[in-house]
């Protein structure tokens, strides 16, 4: 007979110990020089709530609720529903997300310091799991987690006073905590300082998270959560707003030139720290770590897992600005990429766009310089040999001519005529210097093939250099040999006529 035991089992599913959530140490920090001290939570109790309770406006990412605009503490009712749902994590790839409010990240909550927040957490009747919420903006053990443990088809309520201004992460803290977070259970709550935040033209909500699937990156179909790779901290995806492409293409964030943009950026983790960067912008201001103080002129700001930051910039120049985790393989191989598209007129004096697109020969120019200057020296001494000219010409040809005519002089079929074994050159060797100097436009026939394109004049080259190039060509690839002297080039330059297409 199996006697019933005294089964007073108390199990603490301490699968993850988040020491960072310890908020007992709330003494005011050492006062930074010349910076105002916000005096922390002790300054946050602005008295009892005034007026009728207010229902908080919640927004789905990437939108942010409007400023509270309040001047007195209020009682704010927040109603957030947990919904487990299958959604796309990448094109053709599905994943069962657990969400606060049906989106990843969860709904954005905006209150004011000193507000009394009455928090209702509902768990959808269609949920499989119990859930709860830990808001980093709560002063109290667990951040509300124990008070909000909610079974499917149930709702729970707890109330807290928002004592510290700042941007805070919230997340689920039900066992296994890491799995609930990895499935998308995080979001942001902004606790405005009493005076509010400086007015801007646009505000957006972006949150990074890492995701772990059994299948490989972009492997199609419904992908299950992979606990082993989550423990190893090797994500399949690193994403902004829960989906590859959530903020690109038609869904890119929008702004106009001349506007001030503020981003509220969180990092849900569960594992990775974000090196958040916007390509082509410099943050004028960063409220680093989502706190009270501002750093200015920042390129990349670190956002810890379970942390957030606000950043502001002024859009000067139109175009696409790319939001990335600058741990850059995550951006290009795991999806951590979003776009902010700025519309407006070009501002050329700030950013020109591409002005020059040319071949850069780098080290080749360095090494070839010697041959060219040696040749010039010999020419001045009247002792220039054909061999010196060929060496100098080879170096110059590599930098100037080989892009079109190719290093082997073969040209490109139907586009750029060959210089190798060229009947066109053999017929009149000196015309090489003429063509280099003046360019050649219009139809020509070389070795029986017709060409019709444009070669620009290369008259930036000196007479010496052009003579060297021509001599190199004459002594290469089966051409007849011989040399061109600088005097001949000087004569062509004096003629100053464009080389006409020869008549045949």
């Amino acid at each position: 007979m199996n006697r019933p035991r005294k089964l007073f089992v108390a199990a603490i599913l301490a699968l993850v110990s988040l020491a960072a959530c310890d908020r007992t140490d709330r003494d005011p920090p050492a006062k930074p020089a010349a910076a105002a001290d916000a005096r922390g939570s002790k300054a946050g109790d602005l008295g009892p709530p005034q007026g009728e309770p207010i229902k908080a406006v919640l927004t789905s990412p990437p939108m942010v609720p409007p400023p509270t605009g309040r001047t007195a503490p209020a009682r704010v009712v927040v109603e957030l529903e947990v919904i487990e749902k299958e959604m796309e994590i990448s094109e053709g790839v599905r994943y069962t997300f657990w969400t606060f409010g049906g989106t990843v990240p969860g709904s954005f909550i905006r209150v004011r310091q000193g507000d009394t927040v009455e928090f209702h957490l509902k768990n959808s009747p269609d949920s499989k799991m119990p859930h709860n919420i830990d808001l980093h903006g709560v002063t109290g053990p667990g951040g509300g987690a124990a008070s909000s443990f909610t079974a499917p088809g149930h709702a729970s309520r707890f109330t807290f006073k928002a004592l510290n201004a700042g941007l805070y992460v919230y997340h689920c803290a039900t066992a296994p905590v890491g799995m609930h977070v990895a499935n998308g259970m995080y979001g942001l709550i902004l606790i405005e300082p009493p005076q509010g935040l400086p007015k801007v033209d646009r505000e957006y909500y972006v949150m990074q998270g890492d995701f772990y699937t059994v299948g490989k990156y972009r492997e199609k179909g419904l992908q299950a959560f992979n606990m082993a790779s989550a423990i190893d901290e090797k994500p399949t995806y690193v994403l902004f707003n829960g989906k590859e492409g959530a903020l690109t293409g038609d869904k890119a964030l929008k702004a106009k030139t001349g506007e001030h943009v503020r981003l509220y950026v969180g990092n849900g983790g569960p594992n990775l720290v974000s090196s958040f960067h916007v390509i082509g912008e410099i943050f004028d201001k960063v409220w680093y770590e989502g706190g009270t103080h501002v750093q200015e002129n920042v390129q990349t700001t670190l956002i810890p897992a379970g942390g957030a930051a606000m950043m502001e910039f002024h859009v000067e120049v139109p175009g696409s600005y790319v939001l990335v985790d600058h741990s850059i393989f995550r951006a290009f191989n795991k999806g951590a990429l979003a776009i902010l598209k700025a519309d407006g007129p070009e501002v050329k004096d700030i950013y020109s766009g591409k002005e020059v697109d040319e071949t850069y020969i780098g080290d080749r120019a360095q090494s070839s310089l010697a041959a060219v200057s040696d040749a010039a020296k010999s020419a001045r001494a009247g002792a220039l040999t054909v061999d010196e000219q060929v060496k100098a010409g080879q170096a110059l040809f590599a930098g100037t001519c080989s892009t079109c005519h190719q290093a082997n002089g073969q040209g490109l079929p139907n586009v750029f005529p060959p210089l190798a074994k060229s009947d066109y050159i053999a017929k009149q060797p000196s015309r090489i210097a003429d063509v280099v100097l003046h360019g050649l436009t219009g139809p020509v026939t070389v070795n029986g093939n017709a060409y019709n394109s444009v070669m620009p004049p290369m008259n930036q080259l000196t007479d010496d250099e052009i003579a060297d190039i021509a001599t190199y060509v004459l002594n290469s690839w089966g051409n007849p040999g011989g040399r061109i002297q600088k005097d001949e080039v000087a004569k062509f330059r004096k003629d100053a006529r464009p080389a006409a297409a020869p008549t045949h």
């Binding site: 199996n2 035991r5 005294k6 199990a11 603490i12 599913l13 301490a14 119990p130 987690a145 066992a175």
Partner: protein
């Protein structure tokens, strides 16, 4: 001929309505993933008989018809709260034939207990349920096999809104029990004493003594998160609660 046809039509219904059979689970030593405060290490689990599959809607319909005090229009909200049998078409009829064969859900602990009592049975204790559910198709304790855990986790990854399969459609485990994993959660008799901390990160918290006035007990085996999620679900519920994915099966003591 007519009688034969009638029989043929009735046969599937009769199968559904039949009381699920019981399977004997022999006694054994078992190390639970929970750390019981009054027992360290493996403990003896006495032999018991367990229903081979979860109780179906048809099974529960037969019970409600013979015990009308458990109809949703009659039951006290203290014994079965909001949502009790709300998925049925009427107070004593499931929504469809397909639903009749599925495991019953939307049932409170009180209702599940009453059902088992009416069968001369009871709900399983947690350790009995865990003991029986540690098996896979071939082994009585497959918990060390990562594949066993992955299968359980895969079920967690499926949305709860997918239609349930018929009760007993799964493959039998080493004892001959079906659908212990992968279909529904199941009530246990002692669910109310599974005092899981609602905030699962407070290991080492001096306040843990609040649980039953004794040292709260940690999870003995952290690798068994798949099983622990089941404990977490049960601990989040009151006895009058029900959910769309929580059913039950009964056990009988072996004399």
């Amino acid at each position: 001929m007519r009688a034969a046809l009638l029989l043929a039509c009735l046969a599937p219904l009769a199968a559904l309505a039949a009381e699920p059979g019981y399977v004997r689970v022999p006694a054994g030593q078992f190390a639970t993933v929970l750390a019981y405060e009054d027992a360290a290490g493996p403990q003896r689990v006495d032999a018991f008989e367990m229903m081979a599959r979860p109780v179906s809607n048809a099974d529960f319909q037969a019970f409600v018809r013979s015990h009308p005090q458990w109809r949703r229009d009659r039951v006290s909200p203290l014994l079965a709260g909001h949502g009790y049998l709300e998925h049925w078409a009427t107070r004593d009829k499931p929504a469809s034939g397909a639903q009749a064969g599925q495991p019953v859900t939307h049932v409170s602990w009180f209702a599940a207990s009453a059902y088992c009592s009416a069968q001369g049975a009871r709900l399983p204790r947690w350790i009995e349920w865990e003991y029986a559910a540690a098996a896979d198709e071939r082994r009585r304790d497959a918990r060390r096999d990562p594949a066993w855990r992955e299968r359980i986790l895969a079920w967690y990854a499926e949305p709860a809104t997918r239609p349930l399969p018929a009760s007993g459609a799964g493959a039998p485990n080493a004892y001959g029990l079906r659908d212990l994993h992968g279909v529904v959660w199941e009530w246990t008799d002692d669910h109310a004493s599974l005092l899981v901390s609602a905030d699962n990160r407070d290991q080492g918290d001096p306040d843990k003594a609040r649980f039953c006035g004794a040292g709260a007990l940690s999870v003995a085996d952290r690798e068994q998160y798949a099983v622990l999620m089941r404990v977490a679900l049960l601990s989040s519920l009151e006895a009058a609660d029900s959910t769309s994915l929580l059913g039950f099966r009964c056990v009988k003591d072996v004399r």
